[in-house]
Subunit: 304 residues, 2 copies
């Protein structure tokens, strides 16, 4: 390739390298070498790119920002899912807001207790593209326990009070369509959407990292804390996200929940049967331990 | 800037972006935006570049590979130093092999028990350049407790049996001058260089990450384990290293040492007085917890 393809956020494919330029990470970017562009179109909501990379498998890029690669997607799909799942004794109905790639759904389906997973993704094109180019993730969407709702997650949540044991928000950064997913009203609706029992959790992926976005995380956690009595923050390593680390915000209606202690410890046999490559019960606990710079900044809001 | 500057390992400055291309991380690279090249010369041993970046402060690059940035250097300088320091009840004499930037020395000097730090760096030019352009690290080299030896670390270690409480190897990847620092003979000499008491540790930074270099880490840990009865492996987040994570190999002559439990817990007051921004006693323990893919691969060699 000799052409330069320009994407949102100033990301480019120049020669055979994709360079992610995200103004949120000023002066820093990750590059992946491109073997072939498999798909590039603008949907009603966003710019969708899928390319085959030289060493990270197929890569999904939304609005110029890497969402997942086949090689390291397991790191965050497992963390965003198995932390809340193992804080609940009997998760039966789980809602995923966003997450049209199907990776989170795949992880949720590994629990026999699960009777229904609702995936509420706003963009049909993301689902279609992932079914074609990221089948190891989107293959999960064919499971009979999965109920796909193409539509606005904010509205869906508002219209389903008391319906879910766990809600996982797997959405991109707060711009465009996803902006409403980061507002206090949404947290209030989420709280209502959770069953009115003691065991309900919310988990969300936070692309903003402690290293670069403490004020953003603090603001998000503060809004969440105004609605939920307990809020936790964990981190894990995902190589193709800026700074190599992703954050996970947890919230619960249970006033004395200890997010750091899974109520179900997975045995080595469980890990093998569930094909878990990242999450284990020790990682669960360790992921809540933060370096001083983050711990000190978040200590008044975070309960972990 | 419009020129393209080419460095070892195919790294380049193209326009105003430095792109690290390291064949060890095939198809992946980190870019930092450049404001000004402050220094670029070939020493007797390596290609040395320092540039002022847009958002990570001054950056030291050896043979095309980012060694440290002013913004995130604390993450690894603290981890490589304070883990072994807090496994020793009374560290008095510490050897640093490599580490000419002075960052590790700065961290070691934070302990009142320390009487002497020997820095054995092969490349005088690295020391000179860091004194000028990375003074927050290299300023430590003026401390009267510091003894700078410009020379071959392998030889220095061989010639100083029984001299040190702790040895920290802070060297680049095993190529060129640093190759001998990754061979079994070196581990044997290191073991001899440690005092013949019960409390002696070796700590080394491992740029190869679990995500990409399991065979390399396994080989290194195996060689180390043939010499030392106990070997441990910890990780920590450093944004400007490939994949965002760095590994730390620990070794000890103490057959029943538990690397995961610091024998000295630092209070909040200690952390403040020592200006620690990353390391704390909980991070110490948590850093030894590995994701399944790494834990399973290393479990027969690693004692943590």
């Amino acid at each position: 390739m000799a052409t330069v393809l320009n994407f949102e956020n100033h990301s480019v494919i120049d020669g055979d390298w994709f360079r992610e330029v995200n103004l949120d990470w000023d002066g820093y970017s990750i590059c992946l070498q491109v073997e072939e562009v498999l798909f590039h179109e603008k949907s009603q909501y966003q710019d969708i790119l899928v390319f085959k990379s030289k060493s990270y498998g197929n890569v999904l890029v939304l609005n110029g920002i890497i969402q997942c690669t086949e090689r390291d997607e397991f790191t965050y799909q497992e963390m965003i899912t198995h932390i809340p799942m193992n804080l609940h004794p009997n998760p039966q109905r789980v809602l995923v807001v966003g997450g049209g790639d199907g990776g989170v759904v795949r992880e949720i389906l590994k629990y026999d207790s699960v009777k229904e997973v609702v995936l509420c993704e706003i963009d049909q094109m993301v689902i279609d593209v992932c079914r074609k180019h990221l089948p190891r993730m989107a293959g999960s969407l064919d499971d009979p326990r999965v109920n796909i709702q193409v539509g606005d997650g904010v509205e869906y949540v508002r219209n389903h009070p008391g319906a879910f044991d766990i809600v996982i928000t797997d959405a991109p950064d707060p711009e465009g369509a996803a902006e409403a997913l980061f507002q206090k009203n949404f947290y209030q609706d989420l709280k209502s959407a959770l069953k009115s029992r003691r065991h309900c959790q919310l988990s969300r992926c936070v692309c903003a990292t402690t290293f670069t976005h403490i004020p953003f995380i603090l603001d998000m956690a503060t809004q969440c804390k105004e609605v939920f009595p307990r809020v936790g923050y964990a981190t894990g390593n995902t190589p193709t996200y800026a700074t190599g680390i992703l954050g996970y915000l947890l919230a619960s209606s249970i006033p004395d929940i200890d997010f750091t202690k899974p109520i179900r410890r997975l045995s080595d046999e469980d890990l093998k049967r569930m094909d878990l490559k990242y999450y284990n019960s020790d990682i669960h606990t360790a992921s809540f331990v933060l370096p001083n710079y983050a711990r000190d900044a978040l200590k008044h809001v975070i309960d972990t």
